[in-house]
Symmetry: C2
Subunit: 358 residues, 2 copies
Amino acid sequence: MTYSYDDLYAFSKSILQAIGCPEKDATLASDVLLSADLRGIDSHGIARLAGYVRLYEKGRINPTPQVKLVHETPSTGVVDGDLGLGLVAGPAAMKIAIQKAKEVGSGWVSVKNSNHYGIAGFHTMMALEHDCIGISMTNASPLVAPTFSKERMLGTNPISVAIPAGLEPAFVADMATTTAANGKLEILQRKKADTPYGWVQDKEGNVTTDAYGVQQGGALLPLGGDREHGSHKGYILGSIVDIFSAVLSGANYGPWVPPFVAFLEPDPNPVGQGIGHFFGAMRIDGFRPAEEFKSHMDNWIRRFRNAVPINPEIPVVIPGDPEREMENERRKAGIPLLDPVINDLKGLSEKYQVPFPG
Amino acid sequence: MTYSYDDLYAFSKSILQAIGCPEKDATLASDVLLSADLRGIDSHGIARLAGYVRLYEKGRINPTPQVKLVHETPSTGVVDGDLGLGLVAGPAAMKIAIQKAKEVGSGWVSVKNSNHYGIAGFHTMMALEHDCIGISMTNASPLVAPTFSKERMLGTNPISVAIPAGLEPAFVADMATTTAANGKLEILQRKKADTPYGWVQDKEGNVTTDAYGVQQGGALLPLGGDREHGSHKGYILGSIVDIFSAVLSGANYGPWVPPFVAFLEPDPNPVGQGIGHFFGAMRIDGFRPAEEFKSHMDNWIRRFRNAVPINPEIPVVIPGDPEREMENERRKAGIPLLDPVINDLKGLSEKYQVPFPG
């Protein structure tokens, strides 16, 4: 089944208002959430709405947070998300980073006491219209084992970087620091297919191709997959995301990060508040004239797009291209939802007396 | 053969002075160069001294550069390395980043018109004693093919992040954005061994296990190895390093980066000046009190060090631990050099009339 962006957006906004979010927050959060559906990152879009609501029902999301800058220097700061939606705290913190970049060249904001913030790329793309490079990362529920370990210590901890160009579309990277994001496992589960080696290990730390390996007590593997293929580098990247997002801000880190799912309880002895994010903005003309930079970015993008392909029919991809094409398509043709997601949303519709489209 | 740190340091300094470097620069450059040998990153240490000298002899390294900050805001800037050693421009730029962090919370400096800057980790560790997080990256000679391409477009483009701790040693990450660094290929070549799958492709873009695959027109592979294992993420990381280091500063990027080896000529139509680096420093107390942060870093490090191991005899590694242990060992036992390196250095000794130790 396919739904229009506008219909899903209105539904998301109404549900968030129904659980007590002010209209402004419900609008902003729906912007962030639906951007994932538009860009084809279905695991992070409206499919998560019911998950957020369940956390609210457990008292683990505050629908009326007072998001506050609690510590700052001219170019850095910490934001307290007041246990609200990361979908609200994230854009607020990114705005502060951009404002600081306008004032002193760059801005860097670490966020504590937050919840899941949607796709990392939404936040970084906010920087583009200000001629800034945007940077964003977040920690997340522990599902990933460090190299040599069988214990889940890190989330899929994504990193996004958005870089303005001139005539070419912007460079927008948004990547989990694992070999494969959780969403890809779900696709294989639905297909009843195995995973490639290097995505998942079982609970003893052995390589497995079982797409349910994580559910059975195993772990996702850091980018690289195994030591021989550089998994220590994926572990390093996930660790840096964890430290910048949470040790800098005062959020929970590593295995203490509260789980996104409402049926798992957070650690009774937390080391911080909520989950953490990290945002950065650098003004291009803090380095060189913006037009000069953008013209070289155009050249960079064109040169890489035209790098000699192995198979002439499969050209090199510029980060952000596939998501932008998907967005163009889905704005016209609508957003496809899977049956389990539709059922979840219909459940919300009934419970909160908000009509579901179609 | 094993040599003392002091002997190799004195030799390096004398050679650099012999090609015209002022004493201050020769000292600093030898600090950077020899730190690689101490930390066990043999490919980036004194083994490269002859390479730097050959570039000098070709007129591609200026021994008496005037390293200058040519553009700035309170928290950002661009440094022109004046075609000198990156071993000199790098620490100068990192100092500026740290100074800016002291003034406004963070400092970010992109460098153009430079040459190879040694190990990325030397620069980031400069930040530690100032209670700053240090960040450093550099582009390098194109040896890496983006996902789906058979053309060498990127260098091994390393990223280093150094993070202060309290009672525990600092977290010091320093990683190439490829599956395996070039140095590891050299080790296999000496052993006449094959590489694992996922390190190298041949000139047609096919997977190969030939340790000489790169020399024969192939390419190193981005971290991940192939698309199924996330090589697009390694390509993204290498690209971000390239853009931050060179498109922001005005250095050469992508395939235009001048080769480190003197027998390959730089592109006759450069898109910038020399190679590029990028440095950052963030003051810990720009986010939260430094002592509070450090005590949580200690907790982070201990928790990860004690993550349940797969094999009880192989514990989880904290980034920086192996290099620090190596440094302790080599400061006592000396630095081992391979015969080809010794012969190279003896060649320099003869040519520049500088006695070689032992």
